[in-house]
Amino acid sequence: MGVIFSSQLLASVMVLASLYALVAIGLNLVYGTMRLLNVAHGELVMLGGYIAYWGFARWGISPLLSTFIAMVAGAAVGALVYVAIIRHLFRSTRVLARVEANSLLAFFGISVVIQNVTALAFTANQRGYSYMDEVLLIGDLRIAANRVLALAIAATACIACALFFRYARSGMAMRAVIQQRDAAALVGIDVDRINIQVFALGFALAALAGTLISMTQQISPFMGFPFTVSAFVIIILGGLGNLTGSIFGALMLAAVEVYGAALISPSFRSILVYGVFIAVLLLRPEGLLGRSIAAR
């Protein structure tokens, strides 16, 4: 029983949840506005990590600064992916008819490309760097400073997102598109521009999460996919297109992962993550609150 209330595990859950939330919000944005499942999302996390690593190891750039660089890079990649690839999906009617499955294949191709470009540039070996890894003592909690930093930045970013969606014009426009695509266009929202912004923002958030993650653990070109899977679980748990639900879902998944690994065994973690993923897809693909999309 003492395990559950251990501050150590609780802190782990908070850190993991905040990072997961960032990744999930980005994925949910793309899904919510365009109903596309971006399986390459985890690759952006990986890219963010490599930007921070390269900046630090090669140029001595602080990972904190790299968060901004990564966000800009992520936004650029996002805009590029949308304009060069995704937009074309909506051109041909044949492809459009099965746009959800076709987009998924396209994203799959994108993820393979990104993974291997990175592997080409950096080799497939794991990389890491030490940054602020002194251990802090808060009460009886022992935690690395970089994890506290990651939590702080991620949480701030999540709050910033929440404010953005609530008060900023672009944010509200995004929410409008998520709720009712066609109506949004009718009231004068330039849906194409919103799409670009959504991709840019979504990918930027993933890249940001990646830089924070790189502070706390090693990175490799193929680390992205588990994050994609986790993000999917979260957005399904929290409700597809429901952005605040992502935070709720992130907490749930982080708790399951951390406590599961602690109570059973760490190597079980992958089985747990994929098991939850499968269960969630089989039981409730449209989210806990939405209507079921499985056959009758």
Binding site: I85, S92, E100, L104, V113, I271, Y274, L282, A294, A295
Partner: protein, 304 residues
């Protein structure tokens, strides 16, 4: 009718020629040929379900891996060919069990579900192996390359025959209708759940046997490799490149892939993967009918 017989005879001649190849080719080239036949068998089997029904399976490696694992487990316990066949059966059984719940999930969710299942099974096998204290398994005394080649040739031919038979049968018509509009298909009397499950199970056997054969070839079983998502990715890319619902499509795609692989794999495997990924994107967007489908259109052949 005469055209049919001519085509049949040509096909038989080609197969006979291929069967005679081990006499003429050296071990390296024969190995390349084996790979080519492997990809053909895998992609044709994949197309039998995914190409016709439109339910894209991104996790077909799971059947390959299960076949490999069962073959390895039955090594020296059962006669070799029984073990390999058992691998195929195990894959089919897995498809039957998985298909029942999974095929109820539609569209892109099915696609990522298959990805998730493949990874899930992979990690389960890793755990089992770890629990058994095994760190990879080595097979000693496996059949010669020639035998494996002939067996793979048989599988490739069988997979092509299966696709052709299904395609032109009532089952195939039903699957194509499901691909177009599942609700409308149900409205004309198609039991979509039953058809999908049958085709899905059918598409798993040959990949299971292929997995068994390939593990005999490599003589080393390692779950990360056997269940590698790259296998699934390559199968899908071959089918998309070549064309995913006609028999000739995956053959074209496989030829192209093996050619590309021969040019690039040893020198720059990452570049090979990058090109593959880029091709997948381009073809999904601009040539969804694949090379064969595009060739058919350009040459004005009937689309059937």
């Amino acid at each position: 009718m005469k055209r049919r017989r001519q085509a049949g005879l040509t096909l038989a001649a080609v197969v006979a020629l291929c069967a005679a190849l081990p006499l003429a080719l050296g071990p390296y080239t024969l190995g390349v040929g084996l790979n080519l036949l492997m990809w053909i068998a895998l992609a044709e089997s994949w197309a039998t379900f995914s190409g016709l029904s439109g339910y894209v399976s991104l996790g077909h490696a799971v059947f390959y891996g299960v076949g490999a694992y069962v073959t390895v487990l039955s090594w020296n316990v059962l006669p070799l060919w029984l073990g390999v066949s058992l691998g195929g059966l195990a894959a089919g059984l897995l498809a039957l069990c998985l298909g029942w719940p999974c095929l109820r999930v539609r569209g892109p969710y099915f696609v990522i579900l298959t990805l998730g299942i493949s990874e899930f099974v992979k990690y389960v096998v890793i755990s089992i192996e770890a629990a058994l204290g095994r760190n990879g398994r080595l097979l000693i005394g496996t059949p010669s390359l020639t035998i494996l080649f002939e067996a793979m040739l048989a599988l490739a031919v069988l997979s092509m025959a299966t696709l052709q038979i299904v395609r032109s049968s009532r089952l195939g018509a039903g699957l194509l209708a499901i691909r177009e509009d599942e609700v409308a298909a149900e409205a004309v009397g198609i039991n979509a759940a039953a058809l999908k499950l049958f085709a899905f199970t059918l598409s798993a056997f040959i990949p299971g046997v292929v997995g068994g054969l390939m593990i005999l070839r490599s003589t080393y079983f390692e779950p990360m490799q056997a269940f590698s998502p790259t296998t699934s990715f390559t199968i899908v890319t071959i089918a998309i490149l070549g064309g995913s619902d006609k028999v000739a499509g995956p053959v074209l795609g496989a030829f192209f892939l093996v050619l590309l692989s021969e040019l690039l794999w040893t020198r720059a495997p990452e570049i090979y993967m990058i090109i593959l990924g880029a091709l997948l994107i381009v073809f999904v967007l601009f040539v969804p009918e694949g090379l064969f489908g595009r060739a058919q259109r350009l040459l004005g052949w009937a689309a059937r």
